[in-house]
Symmetry: C2
Subunit: 692 residues, 2 copies
Amino acid sequence: MLDGLFRPRAVAVIGASANPLSIGHIVVRNLLDHEFKGPIFPINPKGGSICSIKAYRSISEVPDQVDLVNISIKAEYIPAIIDECGRHGVKFAIVHSAGFKEVGEEGVRREREMVEIAHRHGMRIYGPNSQGIQNSDPEVSVYANFTFVPMKPGNISIIAQGGGMGELLKLHLSKVGLGHRLYCSYGNECDLTMPEILEYYGQDEGTRVIMMQTESFKDPRAFLEVAARITPHKPILAIKAGRTPEGSVAVSSHTGSLVDQAAMAEALYRKAGVVQFTDSDEMIKAAIALACQNVPRGRRLGLITNTGGPGIQAVDEAVSRDLVLAEWSEAGRQRLEQSLYAEASCGNPVDVVATAGPEHYFAAVDTLLKERDTDMVMVFLVTAPFVDLDGIAERIAEATADAEKPVVVVVETTDRWARLIERLRGAGLPVYEFAEDGVRALADMVRYGELQRRPAAEPPALDVDRQAADAILEPWVGKDTFLPQTEAYRLLAAYGIPAPALAVVSGPDDLDEAVREVGFPCVLKVDSADVVHKSDEGGVVLGLETREQLEAALATMRDRFRSAGTRFVVQRQAPSGCELILGAKEAPGLGALVMFGLGGVMVEVLRDVSVAVAPLATPEADALMRAIAAFPVLTGVRGRPGVDLDALRDLLLRFSRLAADHPAIREMDLNPVLAYPRGEAPLAVDVRIRVR
Amino acid sequence: MLDGLFRPRAVAVIGASANPLSIGHIVVRNLLDHEFKGPIFPINPKGGSICSIKAYRSISEVPDQVDLVNISIKAEYIPAIIDECGRHGVKFAIVHSAGFKEVGEEGVRREREMVEIAHRHGMRIYGPNSQGIQNSDPEVSVYANFTFVPMKPGNISIIAQGGGMGELLKLHLSKVGLGHRLYCSYGNECDLTMPEILEYYGQDEGTRVIMMQTESFKDPRAFLEVAARITPHKPILAIKAGRTPEGSVAVSSHTGSLVDQAAMAEALYRKAGVVQFTDSDEMIKAAIALACQNVPRGRRLGLITNTGGPGIQAVDEAVSRDLVLAEWSEAGRQRLEQSLYAEASCGNPVDVVATAGPEHYFAAVDTLLKERDTDMVMVFLVTAPFVDLDGIAERIAEATADAEKPVVVVVETTDRWARLIERLRGAGLPVYEFAEDGVRALADMVRYGELQRRPAAEPPALDVDRQAADAILEPWVGKDTFLPQTEAYRLLAAYGIPAPALAVVSGPDDLDEAVREVGFPCVLKVDSADVVHKSDEGGVVLGLETREQLEAALATMRDRFRSAGTRFVVQRQAPSGCELILGAKEAPGLGALVMFGLGGVMVEVLRDVSVAVAPLATPEADALMRAIAAFPVLTGVRGRPGVDLDALRDLLLRFSRLAADHPAIREMDLNPVLAYPRGEAPLAVDVRIRVR
């Protein structure tokens, strides 16, 4: 339990000083200004007082039990101080100071020493190189943090790796008059981990929405397990810093992590039901909506506006975010027509016109909320000088008071009518500045709803022969090499992954049997760990139709690849089909990721791929397929048949299980897989498997 | 000249009343409150005074020359009033009232009558169903408009079809403390047109940036010509309402226009050098940057931050918008290392760290601005409580004072340090709230720069036989039909568009000659205006290798298409190549649009197409090809050869010229065109041409 951190009964500040620009001073000031509900103990070797509070020379002199200390002294002195804190019964230390892992070898050693000492006392270290925490719960009101955004109670909690991003997230909440609940920016994560804190947020009853920013995952498996437990009852909105290769380099130089974790983050978020964002502003605005409105049950949006242009902006944004414009029932349309001005437009958007008053807004909102086929409502309102704005706010608030469906409002006005916005916010309605903002917030709520409602499932039982696969892999493990084609195909066969018929030949004497087994047309391929890019090196001949062609091709190829013992495979040529690519890659700390995409342009130029954590459950395999932009190709477009999705799903399940069962596999590509119309199994036409 | 509208010497307000909620009253109040530099003449049949200004019973009684009248009386009375205004020498009438075109037949008649009367007096009508205009030039200060956003001088001018969008654009400028220059929301456009107003904006010396919103183009050709004259010296930023099919329906119901103009808008904007936006917030923020900063000469961005996370957000956003992270010279890097704290990071982003002071910022900004390979700079700054913020603002302002390169600043702070933002804005720097905002503004400036610098060119001279084409089309014009294949290919040939060899056959007797002309392998197709979807109806047989196969195919097909006189074509089968689609479509009021895309999935599923106005100039043909996401396929990916881009460009030029030269062509598709590696001309394998 992290109550000692987030609900401390007393806080000591080690490094508190009279210098108002020092971190220690600012922490004392922040605790004091936000009326921390326990005693604050500034610690300073010189004693005296800081912000009118008696300062103690050391933690040992503090007369009370202290749950939490904030430390901002030089890194080299910290291990000894931790020991003293431990002896005094301190439970948590927030280390603001830098000078640890991020400065190299010596820092790493110091960090390790500090943690060992802490653990000896049953104490935990938060940070180092961190901002600290906040809890706005009025019973605690702890601002153990040196930053500057004023804290006020709210129900959105923030957990950020980087202090700058954490600060930015709460800053915008503060700017629109909202507070936050828990806050932490956790820095180096040397001891207390992000998943532990996230779990605490999940259990905190005052937290309705969690916003997080992550630069790199120290323990992705733990994050996955914690997040998956939270998202069914509480949304987690997340930004992964470094989604582009260049951004990823920037992350590395900022945190010292070595691998690009963007694909892993996408897979983790999808599996855990976390809503991913790339834009911080959009994430904050979605959090605001989720903090005060219910999650929509579907994608059908009802729009109300009092002016045309922004209504069209809303429609364009909604459609491009895959929302659907709701249609009204006959009764609903009649009520709109009877309740609104004659010049109003009763389609979707409902244009109540600029002169609409309180009753018109009430009728429009109330009608749409009661429409069975409407899942959510957005109201756009430009303040006209000739209408009763207070009345409009009042009646919108009344119409939405008991609504189970979410409502967001966009108000276009000046400071002169700011009270309209205050009144609407006071009624628990999110209010935005641009029509696009409101639509995006709703679309993001829809994304959460769909993740929340997605079927939970375990990877299914499959008739795979794990032992046979172990036996195939065993001789190669530890060699850091590519499996020969024959072994690779045997491995696929052990997991029931279909491939064209295959035979191995060393020379012309083997051809008779190969032809019997494989037939024509066939393909001849060199099979050597030294030849990785077979096609580029002339190691593949396609479309062999006769025994003579095959023999000639073999002769040429033996000439080209002369090394002793080189073998070749003869493989039945698969009929042309829909080209797909499946990939698997080890993901340290998590297991393996699988990647899916359409072959050719879609993967190579447009990077239209989706990723997931192996092994896949059945709904996850479906989601993996649906996640690519080119998915309609698989279901069939413009009269062309689609592919057998059941068979493809089965292949994905088996492939992902193979990757997950055998950590010896570092990388595995089926490129291409050819998929066929219903009734025909897809075929893994080429395979490349690298073992560690 | 529209000086009478935007720089009136006197304004009369017809329909001015004592009721403070009436439009007439609000217009008088707005003119008065904003200190209009000429006299205001309220007109009210009852006389008296309005807002302490003497009201006249009619315009005829006004003692002065009046340039502009605002009219908000009932529509039915307006034509007579216009006549009276005309006789009194009024030059422009802003008609606020609704009740014209948008209400049907009677309104259309009234609108026509009103315009006819006005023209008799040499007077022009603005609107109807419109908000009005503003000009913040202190010499004029005219707020002839009934809306509520306070006006203050600025250098961004706004022209919006919809009042709600226009208001929203100036509202945000006002919220961030900026003003605007000219403003108009032009409504029904019954007489005075958007291009006329736009031209005036282009010539207005106080206007540095133009923002516009359009719902439908009444005269696209005029817009194109005017906008193309403005964009070389002044950016036009534009939103086209209704970019999605649903949004387009919303536009229709709002404005009464009938066709989806989204594709046309895209083509117009590209040709005219207008920067297109979909998000209103983003457009406004780009306008703010362009209003005070120079246009970047390239895509190379230098980032400065004092905290990691938002720096990474900036990098991710920059890369996803095709900006490039600049690299520093050795000298630049050394200066950074010498000037900044030891723990600063001197890559890109430069992380000056949270404790950086004025001199660090000055050194970082000054260094980056002087780097030869840096085109623009963004500074992200979270206010740390322990640094000299005034000094930082001062030194950033100094470093950027004479910069030719654009600089934008993102400040993360509370109201407590709002003066920092004021100081930076005062120095002519745009300041944003989120890192992503700053990057997007720069990326949008880059888009403008690239449009501005794009080579100007006329469509080239081509060896086409226009007369021959006219002769081919002549017998079909007026029949609203598809051309027979033979005629369609003759038309392509007249414009030098390459296609496989072709022969026409009516029966088996023609086969000998056809085989001589075409050879094998060949394709047999039915050629009938009644059979539009030939493949679907069994009217195409591919891969005929011998005379026997051809004969058999012809017999079957004659059996299938029995109508007397049905002809067939034998066409050489083109070798497989890169499948492309070219389309042309008439665009009323503009001529023709051409469309380009990769065949198959890319067009059908991903809608990855680009459009342009016909005929194309050479750089436009290049831009059309580059505009599709799959463009790298054409240059070659992963060792696969690209296509002959010169030959493809030539084909695009000819195809677009054919569409432009012959308005009788309503639609024309080459689907597919097969393109080949360098040295081989692309072939139009199938063609469909519809004439009016």
